[in-house]
């Protein structure tokens, strides 16, 4: 995110920027998918 025009437009529209790369984002997604079953069970119980 170095494009000056993109950064200008983001500032004009008050868009928040705190970027992560695709690999960083995918690592979080993979961690979600690898959640142990007992944690998922506890999380589901919260929603009931």
């Amino acid at each position: 995110m170095k494009d000056p025009e993109f950064l200008r437009q983001a500032a004009e529209t008050f868009a928040e920027l705190d970027p992560k790369s695709g690999l960083e984002t995918e690592a979080i997604s993979n961690a979600i998918l690898a959640t142990p079953p007992d944690v998922i069970k506890s999380a589901i119980a919260i929603s009931k």
Partner: protein
């Protein structure tokens, strides 16, 4: 999902527990002893799930009221004193006049890392002592860290790192 690759994420979308000035409890320690009313509009959104996590695993005395028809009703209920706390995205709250005038302030946040504008506001998993509870808080907060993400089909943007649509890699 396995057919898509992340290009990246523009920003985190941390949610915050916003408490009003004059609430019966206004610190995390006080919330462990003094009940407060927490407003919510759906049992499947952060306005319910985050307070429910903190009630069960953080042992906070929350009376969660899920009768509000939409998110727009919650700040009004907070201003009227019907409720003492609501949970919602910091990006939606931060320019609200009640926040800038300090009538309402964030006391806890959800995410995998503290928002850069909220370095002194603890994450849910930092308040919770129970190990399973910490894991549940991190799991339910992980979507905040993915945040404003963008995806492309792997066929269009293979993991080799080629930039999409001819965008110069220096702009990524």
């Amino acid at each position: 999902m396995q057919e898509f690759s992340y290009i990246g994420s523009f920003a985190n979308v941390n949610a915050v527990f916003m408490i009003r000035e004059g609430a019966p409890a206004t610190t995390v320690e006080e919330l462990k002893r003094t009940p407060i009313n927490v407003g919510c509009n759906t049992p499947v959104g952060v306005s319910y799930i985050n307070p429910a996590i903190m009630k069960k695993f953080g042992e906070l005395e929350f009376n969660i009221i899920c009768g509000y028809p939409g998110t727009a009703n919650l700040p009004i209920a907070l201003a009227r004193g019907e409720i003492d706390m609501v949970t919602g995205a910091w990006t939606a709250w931060k320019n609200n006049s009640e926040v800038t005038s300090a009538e309402v302030r964030p006391i806890i946040q959800s995410g995998l890392a503290r928002h850069k504008e909220l370095p002194d506001v603890p994450l849910m998993q930092e308040v919770i002592c129970d190990p399973v509870g910490k894991n549940v808080a991190e799991l339910m907060s992980a979507g905040s860290a993915v945040g404003r993400a963008r995806l492309l089909l792997r066929a269009e943007f293979p993991p080799s790192g080629l930039p999409p649509f001819g965008m110069p890699s220096t702009n990524l």
